[in-house]
Amino acid sequence: MARRVGVIGTGQSKYEDHRNDVNTPELVREAALAAMSDAGITPGDVDAFVIAGASGFPEEISFSENWIGPAIGASGKPLVRVHAGTNVGANATISAFFQVASGAFDVVLAASYNQRTIEDFRFNSMDCCDPLWDLGFDYPQSTLAGLQARFYLSRHEGKITEEHGAMVAVKNRKNAVLNPCAHVRSEITVEDVMNSSEVASPIKVLDCSRVCDGAAAIVVADEMKARKLNPAPAWIAGVGACSESRSVPYVDMAYPESCVRAAQQAYQMAWVYEPASDLDTVEVHDTFSFQELIWCEALGICEPGTAGKFLELGGSMLDGELPVNPSGGVISTNPEGASSMVRQIEAAMQVMGKAGDHQVPGVRRALAHAWGGAIQYSVVTVFSSGL
């Protein structure tokens, strides 16, 4: 029988376009120390560490975990690094969860970060493409997301419009004003979004998140330690992860199967039967505005094609029946590899009642979602205030 695992501390660094004031270990240390202090522990109390690094390629360092480890107190301790797409931070938390659930360790810290050493991000994400088949097509992440949004719009013609994407950006940017950790904290209007220049039709500049440097960390512990250290931990009630082959023509980007399956796995574990009513708030990985609508449908929160209506009626607003991205989401804060962990941190904070000005009242169960790669990795985590 697996042990129960709770989140006992979370931490985020300061987010900026470029954190040139620190090197990568110092950046991760900022978040890790914040998480440990939140949990009321010191590095000596942590049994094992997980570092999430999307890729050693843009960082220009291989095995960066060895470099970062000592800065967060991991020297002489078990330390692993997980790789993935932007979902990597969420994967690290899942890895930490199973390290504790299995009984191998009592307290595990997972940390994630983003610090771009190569300035030209477009070049950077191009490197993800197959060097033989895909590189010639010249598509960065925004092109892929543009294709995704186009599929989604055409599938639900008449039900989902470009304005719905703009409304997501407006809603999330408004929520971010209430979140002191957020990177971009200014409101915009639907007109602003619609009039902003086109990046990859139908996606416009203000439909996109703005990539920033930053780090996030999360401390998980077994039931006994968690209860001792935190009066109200956020229990990890369900986790699910699923991957899909990277084949753009065959992945249903408007309703990704990997997301559906990851959610099913997490719901089964967390006893979530009706996601729309069983969950109290949701943090989804909205790197691009339309994605919030797509994930809400794939997660079973809305029927396919109805996420636009749900948004219009205010259901996903901060004071709606199921607030989506009360933190302002990835649109407002995108430290890439760490963004997926920030979703978990925000969901956990909601469950612990520690979200401050963007707290949703009475949250008992919250979901965090993450995606990565060529819309092929999905991770779903469900947090609960009770066991």
Partner: protein
């Protein structure tokens, strides 16, 4: 906690040059073979762990176009850095948590497609060490120099490690270097960084390895001899060479202590039948034996002589180890596959008679900063 067994494994024939195999076909072949060796199909696998390197593959998030080849389509595929042996430990935890019954671990590298040495250099601190030219090889050379000096060990003793491994590797069909060498050959091979000679350094290779783990009940239902994991641990020590005592492999010391404690091993040199160690430079094998408590500090050479004449009661690297082929990132997982093969009596021509308990260990990083180890027994 659930008991976890190693139920299937396969490795490629490691080569120095690129074949027609892409990294996709390289992993696909070993996975197919490993599944067959366990009598399973990919549908029986609950989770896939992979180990590869973006820097070796030359692409960002290089695993994302390999999900299909890795068997990760519509299941969880999790990628781990360092070595496949560390991924195996995480897989073991997943199974012992009770949520998963089976796990497939795959590790690969195609070093032939990479600029030689690039990876090692990129491992060091970019601000303080790299401008000085300090990389894995430089730290290795400094470590060997300090080790030889401290314990008055002759260069011939280190060269002897290479001679011994190359002799054993000649009997391993997967090995890349399969021709025995003499002490004179090793000592006259060029110094790549004094005092490390070419034949004392692991040859980067192309290769892959796949291992399948299963929980107690499914493993037992397979009706064959199984290699049970009785202890495992991974430790990362300081990144700054010299902040620890450089002549002692502290990460290996701590990792083996933890793994032996879990496996109930009190006297490793008496209780273990086999040790399979992966590392980069010949002197490290001696330091690893000392750190694992198989002998005292500085007694590595004497211990290896005792292994050689049979008085140690333990066999070291019957596969020829990583001095015969080093598909980095897969090297440690290959040690686990070899250890499992030995304790189940399936090691073919390199079988050590009566082997029941084996340690698979891999030491990586600047001055063997990281160690992962797993004890398997029949």
């Amino acid at each position: 906690m659930e008991n976890v067994a190693v139920v299937g494994w396969a490795q490629s024939d490691h080569r120095d040059t690129s074949t027609l195999d892409t990294r996709h076909s390289l992993v696909y072949k070993v996975i197919t073979e490993a599944l067959a060796s366990a009598g399973l199909s990919i549908q029986d696998i609950d989770i896939v762990f992979s180990t590869g390197s973006d820097v070796v593959d030359g692409g960002c998030i290089s695993g994302c176009d390999m999900v299909g080849a890795l068997g990760g389509h519509f299941r969880e595929e999790s990628r781990i850095a360092g070595d496949g042996l560390h991924a195996a430990m995480l897989a073991q935890m997943r199974i012992s948590s009770g949520f998963y019954n089976t796990a497939l671990i795959v590790a690969y590298s195609k070093n032939s497609e990479n600029m030689s040495g690039r990876k090692g250099r990129k491992m060091s601190d970019p601000f303080f060490h790299r401008p000085l030219g300090i990389d894995e090889l430089v730290v290795g050379a400094m470590q060997e120099r300090a080790y030889l000096h401290r314990y008055k060990i002759a260069p011939e003793e280190v060269a002897g490690v290479a001679v011994r491994n190359r002799k054993l590797g000649a009997g391993n069909p997967h090995a890349r270097l399969r021709d025995p060498v003499t002490l004179k050959d090793v000592l006259s091979s060029p110094e790549i960084m004094s005092p490390i000679r070419e034949m004392e350094a692991s040859p980067y290779s192309d290769g892959a390895c796949a291992v399948i783990l299963a929980e107690d009940r499914s493993a037992k239902s397979m009706g064959r001899k199984l290699a049970w994991i009785s202890g495992s641990a991974g430790i990362t020590a300081s990144f700054q060479p010299g902040s620890d005592v450089i002549t002692h492999a502290s990460s290996a010391g701590k990792a083996t202590r933890l793994a032996f404690a879990a496996a109930g091993i009190e006297d490793p040199s008496r209780e273990l039948d086999i040790i399979e160690a992966g590392y980069q430079y010949a002197y490290q094998e001696l330091m690893l034996y000392e750190a694992a408590g198989l002998c005292g500090p500085g007694e590595g050479p004497a211990f290896l002589r005792a292994v050689e004449d049979g008085s140690a009661g333990i066999e070291a690297n019957p596969s020829g180890g990583s001095l015969c082929d080093d598909p980095r990132l897969a090297t440690g997982l290959i040690r686990l596959a070899e250890a499992a093969a030995q304790v189940t009596g399936r090691a073919d021509e390199r079988q050590v008679p009566g082997a029941r308990k084996a340690l698979a260990l891999v030491a990586t990083g600047m001055g063997i900063q990281c160690t992962g180890c797993i004890v398997v027994e029949r």
